[in-house]
Assembly symmetry: C2
Homo-oligomer: 464 residues x 2
């Protein structure tokens, strides 16, 4: 429990109206979207309205050795925002202004609490988009998605969050404020701090402003699905599309278990007898090129024994997208615990990984479905279980271990887009080795020697 | 002077044939391609043939507190490879193997000494390219260009080196060897070490292996030039091309002084009465799109009072490219000292920056020409002077100060692609501020507390 004088000092720094200590308020900040990780009720929630306030809060916290947990909308899937050691949750919901849209330089400057969709709405009138597209764009914030380096449905063609963050203002654990990067498309002045802080999960500094890159909105698109009788056919179609030198904006896969669950949930006429479904969208600036790409995709789907369906109207497109966007909520409706992983493999090993996940599910008698971003090898094996069934939870943990083992065996990585957080810390050494863990700690401790920022996440504590 | 026993220990570690101590050899490693920076003859040059040898050398150097200067081909333009504090030059000319080309995953694994062009030659038969394209591709190495985050002529459309390095093996100052990243297109496991080491100019670790991203080679291209009577027209044409949502592979500019110098040097029929020349190339996978883009470019050039010339044959294209590739050698032939800067501004301020450079040249009565990558705001103001003329050198130094002041004033950066090295360290605080300098030092000292790796570069020593 925090000393009462600390709460009073916080109130003096940011105003009483920006400090929450009521029990109901605190409980609301005790968890995020991640299943099967500990929850913890923080001592206090603070809502700063300026970078200077953030500096003051950090200095106070450091003086009293209180943990700080920066938080956007709490949509992350690795336990990244859970206030594990109590202390202060720093919520950016009041720093939610778009400070500038510079259409000539294709940039926007935003505060961290801006919701991704709000930025896209604001730049739409300029004919521009901010491409990173995690499933939760309607609530996730720019600061949170930058801290997690979020991916999403358009990653294959357009890249992930780090490809769109050009500069930042960050408050460090020292209380110092630094600015780096900016509006120039090339910049080799200093180490690449933007890319160091993007994806650092709030463990190195607190983002208080972002300069984001925008691109012209694509003018044309074609959407289609392919239904396959085997995982191998679907995997080969994915490889075939890339080999045909078409880079779709979206190239998503769902396996049989996911298809069935989504259909039961949303009743949109999905092919429940198919072993795999691909959802493909090509887009671009030229109608001819988009059509040519769509035809190449259709040819590859057919050549790999796929049954083709195309969206001819916006309504039909929305229906296909609804299927994909419903995958997670549909699976989540089936049981009380949804373990959503994001093991990622090189593109050429997608089929191997899909089959491995299916086999692991069978081996441990689990309800396991896989969907995800097939085009970039970023799969979401998802296990449904009952947290009150100890035996099932124990089988689930073994299955998850084997899923990560398989991903690393295929030359892959523990996390393509969800981050390490609490959920994957124990596997980190398997991928990085001891020298890699030491390197993580060296960087962490150089900027935050007392582990004040988001402690218990991403960087395993040194074992003495 | 190094203790003789250290040389003997080095010979024992890597073999006598891989240790150079002859005076002529040492002098050859005392400088790089940068003008107006100090030279220094190293104590010894070592040519390792494996990462393990690099580890042994680093441990020995650290024990004896000897500086290590990693070196590719020495083509950098900021004094990055000059062995300022003597010690060991670590040359990677014998670690020059392409270890793997994986066409299915669009990746290549290479040793640091592989020349960029050699990689491109090797992947050409797969229909692939490695896009980063610094002016010196024929000699510059993958390791050196990764350490410098080199840009080049295709940066506007295809990005710079950091966009193509997916993973690395690095030997740290501790002697530890770490591997991170790899063949997955998404990876959020650990901090983004690849982007931290790319562009760190050899000050944080020594790159011993690289996983590079490849892309399908564009199939069609159109090349053209536009001659303009004013810098403003040329600048407006650049902005107009981007506004027309065409992203050329190349969009280069030369001012009158550069045009005249290249023409005197190469006699290729350049328009010596033009105030500015744009060299533009569009490329892509579809002939129709490339043609449509070329037509859009031609329309913009004409609308901005530009005089158009198109390359209709490969020979004509080569001639246009020769002009651009000759800019630096042509300028260099005029006097004994060529000061080549790379101040970079947001795209919308290119015209302002071109005019500012011209004014600064006049103010200090200097021979100053500007050419460079107009499309990404990365300009190369170039000053020709005589190092024996103290008055001229002093005026040049004042002019360079003002060029950087102007770039920062326009919201730009000190360096778009050449790096900080020795040449720009004194300006670093102007862009980063004290807290930014402290951040640089924190990262540097966490990985190399004794400043063994490339000391005297990029990170200004703390003033006590």
């Amino acid at each position: 429990m925090l000393d009462k004088t600390v709460i009073e000092q916080l109130e003096a720094l940011v105003g009483k109206e920006n400090v929450l200590t009521g029990k109901v308020d605190l409980v609301a900040y005790s968890y995020d979207a991640t299943a099967d990780v500990p929850r913890q009720v923080p001592d206090v929630v603070v809502l700063p309205t300026s970078a200077e306030m953030v500096q003051d809060i950090v200095r106070l916290a450091r003086r009293h050795k209180i943990a700080i947990y920066p938080r956007g909308a709490g949509t992350n899937l690795s336990g990244g925002t859970v206030p594990l050691k109590k202390g202060i949750v720093l919520s950016f919901q009041k720093m939610n202004k778009i400070l500038e849209i510079d259409a000539a330089n294709l940039t926007a400057v935003v505060q961290p609490g801006v919701v991704i969709n709000a930025l896209n709405t604001a730049v739409a009138s300029h004919g521009l988009i901010y491409p990173p597209d995690p499933g939760t764009v309607a609530t996730a914030t720019m600061g949170g998605s930058a801290a997690e380096n979020s991916g999403g449905l358009r990653g294959l063609k357009y890249g992930v969050t780090k490809n769109y963050i050009m500069g930042m203002e960050v408050v460090l654990a020292s209380g110092d404020k630094v600015r780096f990067g900016g509006k120039t498309v090339k910049n080799v002045t200093a180490y690449d701090f933007s890319n160091l802080f993007v994806g650092s999960e709030g463990t190195l500094g607190i983002i208080t402003e972002l300069t984001a890159k925008l691109i012209p909105a694509p003018k044309f698109r074609r959407t289609m699905t392919g239904e396959f009788k085997t995982l191998a056919d679907a995997g080969n179609a994915v490889a075939g599309i890339i080999a045909a030198q078409v880079i779709p904006a979206t190239l998503e896969i769902m396996d049989r278990m996911t298809i069935q669950t989504v259909e039961d949930f949303a009743h949109i006429g999905l092919p429940v007898d198919a072993e795999a479904l691909l959802l493909i969208e090509v887009d671009g600036m030229s109608e001819d090129v988009v059509n040519a790409e769509a035809e190449a995709v259709m040819r590859v789907v057919t050549e790999n024994n796929g049954n083709l369906r195309t969206a001819n109207t916006d309504q039909e497109r929305d229906q296909l997208w609804t299927a994909r966007r419903n995958a997670l909520p549909a699976l989540a409706s089936l049981n009380n615990t949804v373990i959503l992983e994001d093991a990622t493999v090189p593109r050429s090993r997608i089929t191997d990984m899909l089959i491995a996940c299916q086999d692991i599910g069978k081996k441990y008698a689990l309800t396991l479905g896989t969907f995800g971003h097939a085009g970039d090898g970023n799969l979401h094996p998802t296990i449904l279980c009952d947290k009150n069934n100890q035996d099932e939870m124990s089988r689930m943990h073994k299955a998850v271990d084997e899923i990560f083992e398989a991903a690393l065996h295929f030359g892959g990585t523990l996390s393509g887009e969800h981050g390490i957080g609490m959920a994957k810390m124990k596997y980190l050494g398997d991928e990085l080795g001891q020298s890699g863990l030491d390197l993580m700690r060296s960087i962490k401790e150089s900027l935050d020697p007392e582990y004040v920022l988001n402690p218990g996440k991403m960087v395993p504590v040194r074992e003495n």
